[in-house]
């Protein structure tokens, strides 16, 4: 019987990705779920472009952009933490990751301000299709940010290089998803 060549670690092609391969299964699942949600949002807008544009005007585009910069900066700090750990700087790595988490928490704070502002204006999840999708998509992402911060906390504690790469990979996926959410929900009109 011919031998099948397999990458070291027994994870096949997943072994060539940084961090734990299981995290990449999760990352792909999340990207597909968010991708379907964003595709659904685009189709829903097709059915009621005027209604969607009028609703979108209630969003704070500056806060959306600010949060994009906040999350990208947090991702950068997480990448620097992995780099520092690879260079053998244990405490330096922890400091970078702590900074990444602190900046990531700013994202949550800004988003809570946004949600509170919308709810005060009477714009809730049942207002119309736009706001239903806005709350569902950004709310699901918000939960991922919370989960990401928990994961970053755990890998800061148990900070082997593989753990840090795995935690940072999840965090970068959360970044990437927001980079796609921001233009579609806040800007395109």
């Amino acid at each position: 019987m011919p031998q099948v060549k397999q990458a070291p670690g027994g994870w096949g092609p997943l072994s060539t990705l940084p961090g734990n391969p299981i995290m990449w299964v999760l990352i792909w699942s999340e990207l597909l779920v968010f991708g379907a949600a964003l595709g659904g949002f685009a189709v829903a807008r097709l059915l009621d472009p005027a209604g969607f544009d009028a609703s979108q005007a209630h969003l704070d585009r500056f806060l959306g952009a600010l949060n994009t910069m906040v999350l990208l900066t947090s991702g950068f700090l997480a990448a620097m933490a992995v780099r520092a750990r690879a260079d053998g700087e244990m405490s330096g790595s922890r400091r970078w990751m702590a900074a990444s988490m602190a900046v990531g928490a700013v994202f949550l704070y800004v988003k809570i301000i946004e949600y509170a502002d919308k709810l005060d204006a009477g714009l809730d999840i049942e207002t119309n299709t736009f706001f239903t999708l806005y709350y569902l998509i950004t709310g699901f992402h918000f939960l991922h940010v919370i989960l990401g911060l928990i994961i970053l906390g755990v890998v800061t504690w148990k900070n082997s290089l593989e753990n840090l790469e795995t935690g940072a990979a999840f965090w970068h996926m959360v970044d990437l998803v927001w980079v796609l959410i921001f233009p579609l929900i806040y800007l395109v009109r």
């Binding site: 991708g35 964003l38 990208l72 991702g75």
Partner: protein, 95 residues
């Protein structure tokens, strides 16, 4: 030193580029104005989003050290998603 990871300088340059692209997206998206964007600026926004996603994948997620198969897979995902969104947007203008 871990050779497979991007250097601090590369990571910093990637972050600066992402910041500049975000400012570019704010300009293309006419953040301060409640006016329709039209197909050109909307396409620009989606292209910028694609570029930013690519930078995150390439440098932060370090796909540059992965296999061509993974790189093509992620690129195909982004092109399919952003292409679909753009196609639906254009359809909205036509209908």
């Amino acid at each position: 030193m871990h050779a497979a990871l991007p250097s601090r300088r590369t990571l910093t340059l990637a972050w600066l580029t992402l910041m500049v692209l975000t400012v570019g997206a704010m300009g293309a998206g006419k953040v301060g104005m409640d006016i329709s964007l039209g197909p050109v600026w909307s396409t620009a926004l989606l292209l910028i989003a694609g570029l930013k996603s690519g930078l995150i994948l390439w440098f932060y997620l370090n796909l540059r050290r992965s296999t061509p198969g993974w790189r093509k897979g992620f690129a195909a995902f982004l092109i399919a998603l952003l292409g679909f969104i753009l196609a639906v947007y254009v359809l909205t203008l036509v209908l």
